[in-house]
Amino acid sequence: MLDGGPAAPVGGADLVMRGISKSYGGVHALSDVDFASRAGSIHAVLGENGAGKSTLIKIISGVVQPDRGTMSLGGNPVRFASPLEANAAGIVCIFQELSLMPDLSVADNIAITDPPRTRLGLIDGRAQRRQAEALLARVGCEDIDPRERVRDLPLSRRQMVEIAKALGRHPRILILDEATSALTGSDVEKVYAILHQLRDEGLSLLYISHRMHEIEELADTCSVFRNGRHIETFKKGDHSDDEIVQLMIGRDWSNVFPPKPARTSPPEPVLTARGLTWPPALRDISLSVGRGEIVGVGGLDGQGQRELLLALFGVLRGVAGTVSIGGKPVKIHSPASAKSPEIGMALIPEDRKTEGLMLPMGVADNITMAALPWLTKHLVVDRSAEAEKIKEMVARMQIKVSDLDAPVATLSGGNQQKVVIAKWLLTGARIILLNDPTRGIDVGTKQEIYQLLRSLAAEGAAILFYTTDYDELIGCCDRVLIFYDGRVVRELSGESLTETNIIASSLNLQPGEIPTGAVQ
């Protein structure tokens, strides 16, 4: 990078992997995988969570080393002991979680690994800025000032900086791991354009995404992974969306959602809230969840839905309004009082890694964390009762675990979420609040969770279910409350529970008023 400007990439290279296997402990993350990606193509890598996509990427980029198998780049066998080596060979990754330092400037970030130097060995600020300007121009973001702090940029623009930074490292193989999930509006078009251009320049692009329409628009070739195996590689257009999903989950993608029971009379209310107010997030919210009911909470992200769940669960201080359980007014001032038998409430939190689980602790310890007071006799944990309950839960939730004392961090995302749910089922909760519980979970586990919710409801639980996924609102919920700016603006149920209505109400519009382009 001596000239301070972005040289054109040195051209792409074919990447060929043969017989790659990798296991972590007893878990086979990849078994005997053959995979090839050609120069001058955009290759989509598809699969559920746990299918082995991220392990594949980690092997290509030198983060982990395969147990077996060979890899070649442009015909030459390669073996990367570290990301640095992979980088030097021209393999550059853009990850979903942004790797930018928020308090450094855009230019500092772009040049972070190899800043241009002055003759004295100091960082050459001017050259660095020129370099950043040139790279930003290349991704169509001339309007980003290289001197700006990354923290001050919106998420979508940060993602563009990330892409510019990757281009500055002269990739021959560019890997995008969910790298477009944060993009909005015109940035999406810009990224598509630059990716197509890079492909035409002969780069090999590996693209991981869960969004079908992105894959349709971008990819030339698709490879599907399932359970650590390479299932099939095909040209775009050879399979329909449904067929692709079927390849990914390995079974028929129908009846994802269990049937909703028909209801003749309104259910008796279990949880009733009147006038909940916690400005500015919550403004005068009233709702009621009945016995056996799954009530969805929808709307755009950040309209007060999370605060509602936290307020009900006693986490927020100074919430005005009343809450009654089974008709009796109650005061819930902490999660400890929310879980007491008189109230019987549970919250499946948003982020299972920081709010739901103690990752280094064992599966067993995590499962009984909430119900421990009921497994205690004379201040001492009743170990045999505890062990029995844990066994019951693991069987009921079908948690795949070989050693109950193994750190819960070693489980897959879906199994981790099952542990969180098991923890609350063990308390015998009758009111279950869920905060986006299926985020980052594989399709199979999602389906299990939907079925579990329905069967809990059938046993008499009252369920309040916040999700950002329209399909879940429509498929899983009896009624849906749409939030907008801290208020419930609309309640949808039965025939009116449609995607169009959800989107319209989320934007606080009347049906029929949807601006074109708002529906994706």
Binding site: A338, G356, M358, G362
Partner: protein
Amino acid sequence: MSLVSKIDKPILIGLGFIVLILAVGTVYTLSTQGTAVFLSPNYLMQQLHVGAFLGITAAGMMMVILLGHIDLSVPWTLAAGAMLATAIGGPLGALTCIGVGLTVGLVNGLGVAFLRVPSMIFTLGVNTVLLGLMVMLTGGHAPQSAATDLMLFLGRDRTLGIPHSVIVWALVSLTLVFVLTRTPLGRYMYAIGNQEAAAYLSGVRTRLVIVAAFVMCSLCAVIAGLALGGYSARAYQAMGDAYLLPSIAAVVLGGTNILGGQGRYAGTVVGALIIVLLQSVLSVMQMEEAFRQVIYGAVIIGMLLIYSRGRIVNA
């Protein structure tokens, strides 16, 4: 329990190191004096006796370190308890001493759990306040009064050759092991050390657990103070100062994660023994004080390096 088996390694290394210290010391004494003084039961019992004061303090310190906190008020909690016990005298003195422990623990716990002051700052402040209070009370002089009978009994006397302070250490240890492994409180302490938000959202009364841990720590400090006062037959102002950093070192040498959440009690016992034996052997070998400090520090760093290489990475 996975938490337990995972941490066995530091304990094994620690035990190995104890053997190594004794072996090196014995080779030295055999070659210079022709005796194996370090292997005599008398010497070992004496080390246990001296080690008990550090062991009890470190046991308390471990309770707060498991939560990811620290208690820097231990030196003056220990000194204040012992000084008041001797100044007041008799059973009332001992009760006052325990009262000091309870009070300081409550104040620390409330400050950290409810006022949300970082424990490093809050307990440092409390330590300074205690220092000031004791200087005011004693007028800047060491109290004249000698250790009470109870203190002498706890700190100096022996039964069947076993120092009572070692028995106290054993009782404190058994109690804490029971709390850590058998009670919800112990489970919650590990949980908070690992992920306080998740523990809170699981309906754990996290603030009460934090207060309880600080109370346990301060109680251990004043118990150590009573025994140490008996051992030296008096209480004096700086008596706790030599116990702050060694007690933290003992906990960490024993494999407890300084950031909380992981650690096995037996490790803390091993850690305390390592420190006591190392100091003793180095002084018998007539090493210069300065050089002793260098070795002492280097050993702590070295052992931590050995542990951290093998520790399972928390995802």
